[in-house]
């Protein structure tokens, strides 16, 4: 009996279903209820659809970041990768390349940036923080060189617009795509060798090496995944806006890390909850949506956002320490 009681949550935890941050789930639900009362239109299908759609770019990138952070790494380059890949895709479309070519080129560029990050970290031995920060700065610079500061517009090919703007059975396609990416990431992280390798490296890098995990390769692969997902977010955003902005994705790196950590994945690696990441990303989108719905004074926005992050994470801490 006692054993079953102990075992159940463990199993659920391990496969990331319930997992990590129950304090945040509570905070999230409280927030939803409060918003429901304060903003009567919050709980309309239209609004919830919008919120999900707004959460998409951060969520998709945060899936990659969940792998990175679960591996005890960090990636600050995601926002500028989004910008750069979005621009390349938009530019190829404007130049008349077919949609699949343009999208694949964007994704390939994301992968390439991931490879660079990975090589700098594993082969040159530069700390992830600094390596990805430098790549963030360089890519943003490349974006400026490329665009001269001017957005690339006219990515209005109907097939391309489908990615970001159409609906499938009433659900926005970007949301559908995000759910698919989530499922794939979930499978990859919890049901494959690769996922175990990632979390092993995060848990104990030395031990990981000794059980024969090719840690460098896995690390590079994880940064590639992060790059590809950033590119994917960049393509969805470009499709949504029919154009690519040089400043796109600025500051996303912090939003993404916040989403992951709020969700319950610790920066110390070894554990990761993709489900929590979704909650974290949606929570942030809900907060911003709420601020707009309630027409909160411009100047108060950041105070509110920062406070909610703190409360959510603190709630979790409090919840955990009570369990001990």
């Amino acid at each position: 009996m006692a054993e079953v009681a102990v075992t159940r949550p463990r199993h659920a935890f391990k496969f990331g279903l319930a997992s990590g941050n129950s304090g945040v789930y509570i905070a999230f639900v409280v927030l939803l209820i409060a918003l429901g009362f304060a903003a009567p239109r919050f709980f309309t299908v239209g609004n919830l659809t919008d919120v999900l759609r707004q959460a998409v770019p951060i969520a998709v990138i945060a899936f990659g970041a969940t792998f990175v952070i679960g591996m005890r790494g960090i990636d600050l380059s995601v926002g500028s990768t989004l910008a750069l890949t979005g621009l390349v895709t938009a530019n190829l479309l404007v130049l008349g390349y077919p949609v699949p070519v343009a999208c694949l080129a964007g994704l390939a560029l994301g992968a390439f940036i991931g490879v660079i990050n990975g090589l700098l970290i594993t082969k040159i031995g530069i700390t992830d923080f600094i390596a990805t920060m430098a790549i963030m700065v360089v890519s943003r610079g490349v974006v400026m060189v490329y665009t001269q500061g001017i957005p690339i517009t006219g990515a209005s090919d109907p097939a391309f617009r489908m990615i970001g703007q159409s609906y499938l059975a009433g659900v926005p396609v970007p949301v559908v795509l995000t759910v698919i990416v989530f499922a794939a990431a979930f499978y990859l992280l919890y049901y494959t060798r690769f996922g175990r390798f990632v979390l092993s490296i995060g848990s104990n890098p030395d031990a990981a090496r000794l059980v024969g995990i090719p840690t460098d390769k896995v690390k590079i692969a994880v940064y590639v995944l992060a790059g590809v997902l950033s590119a994917f977010a960049g393509i969805m955003l470009t499709s949504r806006l029919e154009s690519a902005m040089p400043e796109a994705g600025q500051g996303y790196e912090l939003d993404v890390i916040a989403a992951v950590v709020i969700g319950g994945t610790g920066l110390s690696g070894g554990r990761a909850t993709l489900f929590g990441t979704v909650v974290g990303a949606v929570l942030m989108a809900v907060v911003r949506n709420g601020l707009n719905l309630l027409n909160v004074n411009t100047f108060w926005h950041q105070v509110v956002i920062g406070t909610i992050i703190l409360v959510a994470v603190a709630a979790d801490r409090f919840n955990r320490s009570r369990k001990m």
């Binding site: 903003a39 239109r41 919050f42 309309t44 239209g46 609004n47 919008d50 759609r53 707004q54 943003r140 400026m144 001269q148 500061g149 001017i150 957005p151 517009t153 703007q165 955003l237 949504r240 806006l241 029919e242 154009s243 902005m245 040089p246 400043e247 796109a248 600025q250 911003r288 949506n289 601020l291 707009n292 719905l293 309630l294 027409n295 411009t298 100047f299 926005h301």
Partner: protein, 331 residues
Amino acid sequence: AEPDYNAVFPGILMDKDIKPTGQEMKPVKKDNRPLKLGFLPTAMDTYYQRVLAGVKEEIDKRGGAEAIELLVQAPSSQSATDDQIRAMEAWINDGIDAIAVALYNEGALLPSIRRATEAGIPVFLFNSPFADNPYYVSDVGYDQSDGGRAQAQWIVDTYGDKEVKIGILEGLPGPHTSQRMKGFNEIISKHPNFKIVAQQPAGWVRAQGLSVTENMFTANPDIEVLVALYDEMALGGLQALKAKGLNGKVAIVGYENMKEANAAILTGDFSATVDTGAKEEGRNIVRAVDEFLMKGNPLPKKIFVSPKVYDATNIKTFDQTDYDYVPQQKM
């Protein structure tokens, strides 16, 4: 007698304060060629590229790089005033001939402006919502509150006494936003039939313009006019309205007359935008340098033109070459 500035700066507003303070540099006739002119916007974006186009064209008219050597430096982002200070200081140490700088926040640049002036380098401002210091020679551009006024006036002229609900997309909190809002409110507040029901920041960028507009229209589906303090945000708003099938039904009033905004007026997606004379601003910078340093003539304190509203009625009159740098024959 006042010199005829209108001959040099076509369309200059003579009713603006034009008296020098006495602390700025005095006009001099410099013979060294090329004159080195430093151009320092708050960032590099569509708007400043257009200003730059005007600068280059006007330089071409004066003999190109052999007459005026243009140095361009721009910070990595709108609010990176450190980058501007650094560039100013380097130029002062380098002893260039003139500096044109756009101010995000005047205070941060004040000591550098003073130092440049003391070093005998005249400073010209452009696209600066505030210009309170006594050191600059001329403030080139337009009154940003006039831009807001122009938006509001278009709404008043279009809707008259009709009860209309307005939503506003602001930029990042700061002087550009506050000046534009000041002008806008001045006019709108006189007409109680206009109600601002939502007013939210969208960080000057399109992606936020999109999401904030989505959210805004959830809370206020009855907004009839969406005002944006910059076309980028308005274009994001347009995407949101398109998704809701509201484009063309809700009036979008933008700001800056970006090329895309201009096109959107032609398709009926935008109702209006404000042209702030970006390219003319660039031309005026070079004209001012020419007058002040090549001819040795005094200048008015403000070289302002008035922003102009474009909507479906007059959009076709807009000269499309005003967007780009058109290389000129050397004279």
